[in-house]
């Protein structure tokens, strides 16, 4: 049959729907909440390969928390989680606006993905280290990092902890377990593994967390991370945030024929789980499971968060050019804030009224932080880092050639 073969055809994956079409996620299988087993953390990875193809969910349509993954958080913690997500959303809205007002050059928001970083943070302890991308500011919000410091960084003002050197939102907060963000995709995934290896080499108890987006899993560093994590059984949680889109390319371009991103872990013998990324409770439960594995010297876990990027990729992007405007409304996993809110209301712990009131409180807090930050300057106005700062910190000690250059610059 290969004697006279037909011409080959070139295949390029395409999303189901493009602008002008009607969004349709009916082909995305969504398992019922509570339907996926919760294995013990020391399970033989070979026996749970199917978890890479399912979705762990806790909150059902009615707003109940069901199944074996439910119950990892107290009422208090759940209420706090809601507040964190709401804070992140408000923070985003204000900073997005500040960018539009010319107060900074660039911003990236989390709309729709708040549960992932906010809930994950609560599964870690002091000393653990995240190697985040630009879309996990919830790690800072939920970790109690001051909003005003985030804003100072975004504004590159005179109080910017990074002295104006970095793009907005590329935070660094060591004491908050938040590694300096790189603008280069995926480079930090393998660094997270190296950090975790170091913890094991030193006989410490700290674990590391790598973060990457669906699109960025295609980068080579992803492979290096999985190879090293698998070989050295590093105490690391490897997170893939699948928000369905890179910039203009849908997840199929990076994922190819594998069905899921979690499946990537199977080729390395790394337990791989998929979780409803818009379900705060499910994210926390899976994060806790994976963190416990790492801390118990059981090695790495790969977790795929199934979520949806509701907003634009960044302030430089306009998604209406590549996907239907109403696609986010059709997204079957709903809104993480509303889902947790409904759950808490159903359980009598929350009300629409308290929600509105809290929204107002949060807005006030964000605005007050913003005022404080702006008193220290914004990108083009007011206090700013010095030109001298630009020459500092390239090395621990400034070498002669850089000293000469600084002199030449007259600073």
């Amino acid at each position: 049959m290969t004697d006279n073969p037909a011409p080959l055809k070139f295949h390029v994956p395409e999303p189901e729907v493009r602008p002008g079409g009607t969004p349709d996620f009916s082909n995305v299988p969504i398992p019922k909440a509570g339907s996926v087993d919760r294995p013990p953390v020391d399970v033989d990875p070979r026996t749970i390969r199917d978890l890479a193809y399912s979705i762990i969910r806790v909150l059902n349509r009615e707003g109940d928390a069901v199944g074996p993954w439910a119950g990892t958080l107290t009422d208090e913690e759940q209420l706090e989680g809601l507040r964190h997500m709401m804070t992140l959303r408000t923070f985003d809205a204000r900073m997005q606006m500040a960018q539009r007002q010319g107060k900074t050059s660039f911003y990236m928001q989390h709309m729709g993905e708040e549960a992932v970083s906010c809930a994950f943070r609560k599964a870690l302890v002091q000393g653990d280290m995240n190697f985040p991308t630009y879309r996990q500011a919830g790690l800072l919000i939920a970790g109690g990092y001051p909003m005003v410091d985030m804003m100072n960084q975004i504004y590159s003002n005179e109080m910017d902890p990074l002295k104006g050197r970095q793009l907005p939102i590329m935070y660094s907060a060591k004491d908050h377990g938040f590694f300096s963000i790189s603008g280069n995709l995926t480079t930090q995934y393998i660094q997270a593994v190296g950090w975790a290896m170091a913890s094991a080499i030193k006989g410490d108890t700290k674990i590391a967390v790598g973060w990457v987006g669906d699109g960025a899993t295609a980068e080579s560093d992803f492979h290096a991370a999985l190879v090293f994590a698998s070989t050295y059984r590093a105490p690391v949680v490897l997170n893939v945030v699948n928000n369905q889109w890179a910039i203009s390319t849908f997840q199929g371009i990076a994922r190819g024929g594998s069905g899921t991103f979690a499946a990537r872990g199977l080729g390395f013998g790394i337990p791989a789980l998929r979780v409803d990324g818009n379900d705060y409770l499910a994210v926390h439960a899976v994060a806790k499971w994976a963190a416990e594995r790492a801390r118990s010297n059981l090695g790495p876990t790969l977790v795929e968060y199934v979520t949806y990027r509701v907003g634009a990729h960044s302030t430089s992007d306009d998604p209406s050019a590549y996907r239907p405007k109403t696609e986010s409304d059709a997204w079957p996993l709903g809104d993480p804030v509303i889902r947790l809110k409904n759950h808490l209301i159903r359980r009598g712990l929350w009300s629409d009224e308290r929600h509105k009131q809290t929204e107002a409180e949060i807005l006030e807090a964000v605005i007050s932080a913003q005022k404080e930050a702006e008193s220290h300057g914004t990108l083009h106005a007011g206090g700013k880092p010095s030109t001298r700062d630009m020459f500092e910190g390239v090395y621990a000690e400034m070498p002669p050639h850089l000293r000469r250059q600084r002199q030449k610059a007259g600073v």
Partner: protein, 337 residues
């Protein structure tokens, strides 16, 4: 003659090339359906189909590696790296593979690929949207390195690059995409539609690789520049009133040494400018060539005006960028030396 921005001229070059030669294919991150984050490939997928212009996974290594394989098959891939700052994951494929394939196979396999990438700063893009990595390619035997400074050249050089039988690194100064930026960031930029180099023929033409162009004739001092710095140098000459001859190198490798040497022998002074960091920048090669070839003509040391030896900062962008003031000072110093 039609007026084009640099983006339109680059798009037109690919359009013309794809129309003339079925073997030309275009791909990269976001270049297919969407048409590229700078819109350089807009409309090409619609016109030529998904087999000729398509989206790639976010893997610069993969994009270049696949392009090398395609080129060895007989295609002529013209690929986009979204920002020059992201080319490093592909560096091994470029240096160890694309650049050496013809040599090591004694011509059995060749690698006619063009790797386009936006380069340079001036857009508050911080460390990862501002770099000028040309010197990391000019050191690599087997590559050609091109940096256009205007729409007309961009189109002619890009067509020439696509038709070139060897791998070409094609660096697009993104600050010039919409107009001839002269480094005065506080003043409005003229649009290309108002500039004579924005007049670009619709159809096929080439600007040959390896030929520099004198942008501003002068007799007092030679300024060697490329990309955005061509306009900065011109502005510095106007502002200092120094009769500088500004040479737009256009191709860095192979370099038009003849034009450079003729000019410096005439002016007897030389200033080299680029946005990239100083140490081991391409300016060092230019200084070396000038002093090797014009030693007995030189009346002053050849000066370099460049980005500082630090990563590209965000807030301090305009302290970092070698603007007309710094270039002007170097011109004065060189004249007074």
């Amino acid at each position: 003659m039609p007026r084009m921005t640099m983006i339109e001229a680059i798009r037109s070059a690919m359009d013309v090339s794809m129309g003339r030669d079925d073997d030309v294919v275009v791909f990269g991150e976001d270049v297919g359906y969407f048409g590229g984050v700078f819109r350089c490939t807009q409309g090409l997928q619609q016109k030529y189909g998904r087999s000729r212009c398509f989206d790639a996974p976010i893997s610069e290594l993969g994009i270049v590696g696949a392009a090398i394989g395609m080129a060895s098959y007989g295609l002529k891939p013209c690929i986009e790296i979204q920002f020059a700052d992201y080319v490093y994951p592909a560096y091994d494929q470029i240096v160890s593979e694309a650049a050496r394939l013809r040599y090591r196979s004694n011509g059995e396999f060749t690698c006619p690929i063009v790797i386009r990438m936006p380069t340079g700063g001036g857009i508050f893009g911080g460390q990862t949207h501002s770099q000028s990595p040309e010197a990391l390619f000019t050191h690599v035997s087997g590559l050609k390195v091109v940096v256009p400074s205007n729409p007309l050249d961009a189109k002619g050089l890009l067509i020439a690059s696509i038709e070139d039988p060897d791998p070409v690194i094609f660096l697009e100064p993104k600050r010039l995409y919409n107009g001839p930026f002269d480094g005065h960031h506080d003043r409005p930029v003229t649009a290309w539609s108002k500039h004579e180099l924005g007049e670009v023929p619709e159809g096929h033409f080439t600007v040959p690789l390896g030929k520099a162009e004198i942008r501003r004739p002068g007799s007092a001092v030679t300024v060697l520049a490329y990309g955005t710095m061509v306009y900065v140098a011109q502005a510095a000459a106007e502002e200092t009133g120094i009769d500088a001859e500004v040479i737009d190198l256009r191709t860095l490798l192979p370099l038009d040494v003849e034009t450079i040497v003729a000019s410096v022998k005439k002016t007897r002074r030389c200033v080299v400018v680029h946005e990239a960091t100083l140490t081991s920048g391409f300016g060092a090669e230019l200084v070396s060539l000038v002093q090797e070839n014009c030693f007995y003509h030189l009346e002053a040391p050849v000066a370099r005006v460049t980005g500082w030896d630090t990563p590209y900062p965000h807030a301090q962008e305009w302290d970092y960028f070698p603007g007309p003031k710094r270039v002007g000072e170097a011109l004065i110093e060189t004249m007074e030396a």
